[in-house]
Amino acid sequence: MAPARGDEAPAPARRAGRADRLLSSEHLTGWLFVSPAVLIIGLFGVVPIIWSVVLSFQSSDFVTTPTWIGLANYQALLKDPAFAASVRRTIIYTLIFVPVVTVASLAVAVALNRAVRGMRFYRTAVFAPVVTSTVATAIIFNWLLDPYFGILNAILVKLGIPAQQFFQDPSQALYCIVVMTVWGWLGFAVIIYLAALQGVPQELMEAAAIDGATRWRAFRRVQLPLLGPSTLFLVIWLSINALQLFDEIYVTTRGGPLGSTTVVVYYLYQQAFQLFNAGYATAIAYVLFLGILVLTVVQLVIGRRFVHYRS
C-alpha cells in the first residue's frame, strides 16, 4: 500500500534534558549498585560519626535524655589525670610495640626469603598467631605468664632468675602486654615484608652483584630502600592498631593492676559502660581519633620524603 500523501517529516527529536540523563540507565544502575553500601555505611557509619560529634558535646547516661554541655567534656578531658595517664601508657606501649614488630619482622622476612628448606613450616609457625583471636591469645599468655604456675616462671627459675609477677606486677603488666601483642602481630608484618622482598626482581640483585656490591651492601642499598613503602604502611597500620589496644587488656588485666594497663580505649570503655558517661566517653574517642589522624599524617609526611614509590 502506498504511503499516504502528505507524510510529514518525523518530529525533530527533543534534546535530552537533565532529568533524562539522571534517569538514564547508567546513573540508575550506579545508584542501584551502591545502594546497599550506602544504606549500611550511611546508617552505621556516617550517621554515627555525626551523632557522636553531637554526643561528645552532651552529657548522657544512655537512659535519660542527653543534656547539652558544649565543650565541657573536652575541657574536663584536658584536666583529667586518669585520662592523661592512660594516654601516657598508650604512647609507651605504641613506642615499644611498633619498632619491635617492624624491625623483628624485617629480620624474619629476610631470613625466610633466604632459607629455602622448611619455608612453609616457618611461615605457618610465624603466621599462626595472627589467626588466633585476641581473647585466646590473652588467655594463653595469662596462663604462660601465671606468677604461680606459669611455665615461663619455671624456665626463669631454672635459669636462676627469680619468678616474676608479670600481669600482677604494676611495673611489668604493660610490657607483658607488649610481648603478647608482638607475638600476635609479628606474622602479619612478616607477610607484608616477605611479599615486598619477593617483589624485588632477581635481576636487580644480580646487577648490584656485578656492580660490586656484597650481599649486605646489596641488601642495604637496593632491597631495603625498595621496602620503604611497606615499612611506611606497616608503621602506620601498626600504630593505628596499637593506639586502639583494648581486647587483650580486657581479658587479662582489666586495666590493672593498679590501673597500670589502663590504656585510652580501656579508659573509654570504663567511662562508657561502667560509669555510663556516654558523652565523656565519646569525647575521649574523638580525641583518640584526632591523635591517630595527626600521627598518621606526620608519618606519611616524613615517610614520603624518604620513600620513593616505584610506579
Binding site: P36, A128, I191
Partner: protein
C-alpha cells in the same frame, strides 16, 4: 639415524630455567639459627595450650609445671574430662553456631555488596560518585571507638541489641572491602566489559559473568580478611550482646574466663575448641591467607 630432522620434542625441551644461587657449598643456610628459635617461640604457646588441655587440674596447680603423667591413655582421659567439662559448663555449641551464622552472613554480604559498590565506583558514571567515594574513604579513617556508642544506640532503636542482628547489620558492608575491590576493578582492562556489552550483556551480567570470575584473588582477600576479623571480633559483641544465648565464641570465651579462671585445663580446652575452626581453615588454605594479607598491604 640421520642428523637431519631432529625430533621436535628433543629440540624443543626447554632447559631447566632459573638462576641457581652461586654457592659452591651446599651447607644449610645460617639463617636457620634465627628461624628455629623463632619458630619455637611462636609455636610454643600453642603447644603448651594443648598440653595443658590434656592435664589434670592438680597437675596444672603444681610448680614447676611438667608434662602430664600417663601418656597417652591418661592424657586422653584428661582431655575427655576437660573438653566435655568446657562444653557442658558453657554453651560453646550455641556460641559456635552464632559465630558461624554471623561470620557467614557478613562474609557473603561483604562479597556481594562490596563488589557491587566497588564496581559502580570504579566503572559507572553517576551523579555524586566522587563525593560518595570520598565519604566512604573518610569512614575508613574513623576508628570504631568513635562510632560504637551511637551504633549501639541505633541498634537499640532498631531492636537489634542482644540479637545476632546487631552483630551482622553494621558489618554487612565495610569501607575496606569497597576500597580494595574498587582499586582492583580499576586495574581490569575496560575492553573486556566493552566486549561483553557489545555481546549483549547487562551491567550486572557483565559484573557477575565476566569480571568476578577473574577476580579470585581480591575476592579471596576480602573474604578471608572479613572472615577472620568477624570471627575474632570482640569489642562490638562485648557491648552489643548481654545474654549468653546470643554471644559469639570470643565473647563467650571471655565470660568463661571470668567463671573458671583458675581451672586452667578446662579453660585451655575451651580455648582450643574456639580456635580450632580458624586454625584449621588457615592450615588448609594457608596460601590464600598469606596472599590476602600480602596483597592488602600492597594496596595500603
Amino acid at each position: 639415524m640421520s642428523f637431519v630432522a631432529l625430533e621436535r620434542a628433543e629440540a624443543g625441551t626447554p632447559l631447566v630455567a632459573g638462576p641457581e644461587p652461586a654457592r659452591r657449598r651446599r651447607r644449610p643456610s645460617a639463617w636457620h639459627l634465627l628461624l628455629i628459635p623463632l619458630a619455637v617461640v611462636m609455636v610454643f604457646p600453642f603447644v603448651w595450650l594443648l598440653v595443658t588441655s590434656f592435664s589434670t587440674l592438680a597437675e596444672s596447680r603444681t610448680f614447676p609445671p611438667s608434662l602430664p603423667a600417663g601418656f597417652p591413655l591418661q592424657w586422653i582421659e584428661n582431655a575427655v574430662h576437660n573438653y566435655s567439662a568446657a562444653w557442658t559448663q558453657a554453651p560453646f555449641g550455641r556460641w559456635l553456631l552464632n559465630t558461624t551464622i554471623v561470620t557467614s552472613v557478613v562474609v557473603v554480604g561483604n562479597l556481594v555488596f562490596c563488589s557491587l559498590a566497588g564496581y559502580a565506583l570504579a566503572r559507572l558514571r553517576f551523579f555524586g560518585r566522587t563525593a560518595l567515594f570520598l565519604v566512604i574513604l573518610a569512614t575508613l579513617m574513623v576508628p570504631f571507638q568513635v562510632v560504637m556508642i551511637p551504633v549501639l544506640l541505633i541498634c537499640r532503636d532498631l531492636g537489634l541489641v542482644d540479637t545476632l542482628g546487631a552483630l551482622i547489620a553494621p558489618n554487612l558492608v565495610t569501607p575496606f572491602g569497597i576500597f580494595l575491590l574498587r582499586q582492583f576493578f580499576k586495574t581490569l582492562p575496560v575492553e573486556i566489559e566493552e566486549a561483553a556489552r557489545i555481546d549483549g550483556a547487562t551491567r550486572l551480567g557483565t559484573l557477575v559473568k565476566v569480571l568476578l570470575p577473574s577476580m579470585a584473588a581480591p575476592l579471596a582477600t576480602v573474604g578471608i580478611m572479613t572472615m577472620l576479623w568477624s570471627w575474632n571480633d570482640f569489642l562490638w559483641p562485648l557491648i552489643a550482646i548481654q545474654s549468653e544465648k546470643s554471644m559469639t565464641l570470643q565473647l563467650g570465651l571471655s565470660t568463661f574466663v571470668g567463671a573458671h579462671e583458675t581451672k586452667w585445663p578446662v579453660l585451655m580446652a575451651a580455648t582450643v575448641t574456639t580456635q580450632i575452626p580458624m586454625l584449621l581453615i588457615f592450615i588448609l588454605a594457608q596460601r590464600w591467607f598469606v596472599q590476602s594479607f600480602a596483597s592488602s598491604g600492597v594496596k595500603g
